[in-house]
Amino acid sequence: MQANGQDKPNGHVGARDGSDEALVRIEGLHKWFGNHHVLKGIDVTLDPGEVQVVIGPSGSGKSTLLRCVNLLEIPSEGHVWFRGSDLTDIRTDLNRMRTHMGIVFQSFNLFPHKTVMKNITLALHKVLGLGDEEARSRAVEQLEHVGLGQKADAYPGQLSGGQQQRVAIARALAMEPTLMLFDEVTSALDPELVGEVLEVMQELAEGGMTMMVVTHEMGFAREVGTWLLFMEDGVVLERGKPKEIFANPQHERTKTFLSAVL
């Protein structure tokens, strides 16, 4: 987590020294939904092992930004580089690139007609082409990792929200991605179930996973984030070390937002 400990000035992290070690590089990203200009020129870079937390009021475009990283939303303008490939280039094999980045959603999106085990092994079989045995062993390993080893044969509908979300995380991790995207993954959970999901995410971060996390959990942002990015109205207002921003927000809007949510 502390690998990139050197201080960088707030808001300038996108303009890096051009080395290619970055895992994700977003350049000049714009997104329109019809006439609605949701993202207005975003530049963000993420190095391996970093946790990028994105906060901001609802409607600020933070989920859209996250979904542009694996091109579930197609950027209207700009580039998204992942491991040196330009995902916005039409010739890039998106399906293959997506196997290297897991995404977890607010609404879990488990496949309700399949057991927990099959939820996880489906893509291992059909996308990675793994055999039965290897797929199963990977699934078991990830389920145990999220503390749900005994739920392999349950259907998603039989699990609590927190358990479902942990299965969704296990499903993404089983692909052995190099980047994990979390889109408000605790927002749909009962308050008492939030902790178990955040715990899994924190462990993941401590294990060195590169993550981009859209969240309203300020405690998580402060403790786990390498970088904190505050968005409003489609632009990045502030980016820096979480503790610094929490202690000393530069922007007036950041101040009012933080005082409202903390």
Binding site: N95, T99, N109, F111, A123, V127, G157, Q158
Partner: protein
Amino acid sequence: MAISATRPEEQSVGSAITGEAPPDVRGPTAPFPRAIFLLGLASLLVLAIGTVAIQIDYAVVAPPLSQECINAGIDADFTGHAGVCHIIQGLRATEMKVVFILTIVLGLAAIVLGFSTYRKMDTRRKRDNAYDGAILGIQAVLVAAFVWWFSASQQFLTFAKLDLNFAVLAGHVDDFLRGAKNTLVLAFGGEAGGIVIGLVLSLMVLSSRRVVRAPARTYINFFRGTPLIWQLSFAYFGLFLGLGWNPSPFLAAAIVLAVNTGAYSAEVFRAGIQSIERGQVEAARGLGMTYLQSMRYVVVPQAIRRVIPPLMNEFVILIKDTSLVIVLGLAASQFELYSTSQDLYSSTFSATAFVAVALGYLAVTLPLIALVNYVERRLRSGLVGAGGVH
């Protein structure tokens, strides 16, 4: 209000908020709700059981033909004269008048008692009992009065000759069974082909590409926009022959039914696929699946479950629509239910053939309708929400 203001020391906490309680106007509770319900039920049962018993009695005892039957032409020269006349005699018998009168008396009693007391019942269930009893009474009285009046009229003789001459069915049971078999073959054939065509069309219609959507839309609009009877006639008499192909009318009909059902089930599938949450595709694509993989392994299996009830509904409609193949002039061995009855009618001139074939259709469709309702209830009772149907 004046009370609470002037006598604060006498107020309880409750009355300070609600004011004085309204007077109790409920009056005494009415008795026997159950008896009123049973009275209404009894009036209907007396009518039904009495009628059946008297009809059986006349059929078994077989008294000689009455003069009025003979005068109406229901005599030895008329095929099935005994059966028809016994129905008439049974309905006009003195015992039957007793049944009618008893039904009407019981029914009226239920109506009067039910409507005069239901407001005074002290529970909702008792009130429903009284109310239901009165409604059953109304039904019994109306049916009894109509049957009594109509069976006593001169016109009834003609009606019975035409529609209640069940003797003409004798020896044709096999024809009806064959008809039922052919109807089901056509319906299942049409449905099987229709499901395949419909699934492909629905995926085309959902494509993001206009050039893929357009032909599928055209197909669907064309077959939904023209009458099935036109499609059958044109395909068989015009298109197939014009293309130099001469299939049997039965095969041609099966093909047209499949092609037509495809258009309708495409819309059912499209709605089913669109009803699956966007997040399902996003999760699948997020795992690196292609569009087709996410459809095949994630969306379609879930959509299939949701479209089973509407598809079965379409199937019930298709069963009835198979009757239209009669316009192609089927060979006798290919008669389905409706052509069987039409054929029997043209050889006997008795519309009883049509009465019988309605029973044939209902024997197939009613169980299916019950099954649709059952499946719908199961799907709605949370099994979808719970995820698996296992």
